[in-house]
Amino acid sequence: MEPIIEVRNLTKIFLSRRAKVTAVDDISFDVNRGEIFGMIGPNGAGKSTTFAMMSTLIKPTSGSIKVSGFDVEKEGDRIRPIIGIVPQQYSLYSDLTARENLELMGNLYDVPKKVMKERIEYYLKLVNLEAQADRFTGRFSGGMKQRLSVVSAVIHDPAIIFWDEPTTGLDPQTRQAIWKLARKFNTEGKTLIFTTHYMEEADKLCDRVAIMNVGKLVALDTPQNLKRASNSASLEDVFIHLTGEEIRD
């Protein structure tokens, strides 16, 4: 299998006012082309930080990442056009309409006008927002925002999609809709990497799951193998087994 992302000895240390936080601690893994790759781990495990480095948003303290063969630190300009990210926050302009938010993204990604128009109609329909297309997103519910946020990240037809907690806090219907989108994008050949808190989601969707804990990668395998290895019936048990029972925030 051909890796599309290669992470090697990746470390990120944040130096905030007083504390030194090792958010990501020497992790290495590959993401294969065309797979759905899940990252799970308690709050503060370093998932979002890893995402931010893979998507060129922040620089690693040490180690390296190659995305589609390009180095994140030196060739960010080559990487950005082929990836799409859905940040952990909704990150939509609340004073622009749904359509304007999509157009802004399309324009900044240099999507040709005609193609963009078609894609916007298509995606708005796909996530069931056609009727809300010309409303300001500030008034949208969480589910509506997330659906729009998800399609904002694919308006330029990226090969790799990053979703950071796309389903957290959403109703079951919206979560179902997002899973459907994940499968759809995947059958189109896109590589999808996402983080989640919901184990059954990782279990159902992912080809492979990485489990992170306090900055370290503690396991990486298919859901089946992970369950088999720790003799657990569910991924949740594997997770608790590997990351401990204490509650973190």
């Binding site: 998507s55 060129t56 799409g84 990210i85 940040p87 622009l96 802004l104 993204m105 324009n107 900044l108």
Partner: protein
């Protein structure tokens, strides 16, 4: 990335900023009405005194009467003050138009021209006329100087000495002094606040992350935001100046192009300052506090409401550390004195330095890492 695509991206960002600002209906009131309200309230409610005003005495007379007159002016200390009112420079053989140029250049607040035959005529009890030119663009100072001189001549040499006071900039009032500076102040506050607040907001709601993930450069984002501010602030200045001239009868003696030039340079610096401050604040609230800390003092310390010539030295030094001081000065020189580029060159150079420094700082601090 080529220039055309950079400019296209800047354009996209600019359009977005305009869409956003025009949808904030509540913002239109502070944007346009507050400055006018400020001009009206302060314009009709302020006065002042002056100290150590630089005046030039052109004395072509060699007699004793003129030298005692000059001495009297030079040693005058106002009733409740402890400092001399005037700081006198002497010269002779200077025509009225040359004297006016000295005032235009801001070298003196007033010029008193004593005719050659002053002493002789006073001795013979003949009538004589002195000419007093004042910098009426600084209405506070010139009003006080004129009052002083009138009293002086009424009291001493009798009614034979009369004073001719030509209006070199036309009839002016405090409003004319105030308005150019309020425009500069408005542009400064407006730019710093709206640029910084927008970025702090985009950081807080995560939209900046999305923008930065697209193949758009930092430079293009900043340029887009700058273009937006330039257009917005210039439009605002034009509306405010027209409003002030039409509604309040404020004087606009100078070139609109020069006003635009000053404001464009000034806006660049203010955009940079707004970006820099938003870059070091964590969210919108902390930006708000930081920006007030920076902008509010310039409102009071830079001579928007009173002439800097009448404040103590230490206050003047503080004022000279603030770019608004120079913008105020340039705006007054253009709008009230109707002067050209040569007379605002010094102010412009300082404003250009300010713009380069803060714009550079803003670009530097506005990282892709958000």
């Amino acid at each position: 990335m080529n220039i055309k695509s950079e400019l296209k991206k800047s354009w996209i960002i600019m359009i977005k900023e305009f869409k956003q600002i025009f949808r904030k209906k509540a913002l239109m009131i502070p944007l346009f009405a507050f400055p006018l309200i400020m001009i009206i309230f302060f314009g009709y409610g302020m006065g002042g005194t002056v100290k150590n005003v630089d005046i030039l005495v052109v004395n072509d007379d060699t007699g004793t009467a003129s030298s005692s007159l000059v001495q009297e002016i030079g040693s005058f200390i106002p009733k409740y003050g402890d400092v001399k009112m005037f700081s006198i420079t002497y010269t002779k053989d200077m025509g009225q138009s040359e004297a006016e140029r000295k005032i235009d250049a801001g070298l003196y607040k007033a010029v008193l021209i004593i005719p050659q035959d002053y002493s002789e005529r006073v001795a013979k009890n003949e009538s004589v006329t002195l000419t007093l030119l004042t910098d009426s663009s600084d209405t506070t100072s010139s009003g006080i100087i004129i009052n002083f001189m009138k009293q002086l001549f009424a009291g001493t040499a009798g009614s034979l000495v009369s004073l001719k006071i030509p209006d070199i900039y036309g009839k002016l009032e405090y409003l004319d002094f105030l308005t150019p500076a309020v425009i500069a102040l408005t542009v400064f506050f407006g730019t710093v606040q709206s640029t910084g607040y927008a970025i702090a907001g985009e950081r807080q709601d995560g939209t900046i992350v999305r923008i930065m993930m697209t193949p758009v450069s930092r430079g293009a984002v900043i340029l887009g935001k700058t273009l937006h501010q330039l257009i917005l602030q210039l439009a605002r200045a034009v509306i405010l100046i027209l409003g002030a001239t039409v509604i309040l009868g404020v004087t606009m003696n100078g070139s609109w192009l020069l006003v635009a030039l000053v404001l464009i340079i000034f806006t660049f610096g203010a955009v940079g300052l707004g970006i820099a401050m938003s870059a070091i604040s964590e969210d919108m609230t902390s930006f708000q506090q930081l920006s007030l800390l920076f902008t509010l003092p310039s409102m009071f310390a830079t001579g928007v409401f009173y002439p800097l010539s009448s404040v103590p030295d230490w206050m003047r030094w503080i004022a000279y550390t603030m770019p608004l001081t120079f913008a105020n000065n340039a705006m007054r020189t253009i709008m009230v004195k109707g002067q050209g580029l040569a007379f605002i060159a010094n102010d412009l150079i300082i404003l250009i330095f300010f713009a380069i420094f803060y714009f550079g700082l803003g670009v530097y601090l506005f990282r892709r890492e958000v």
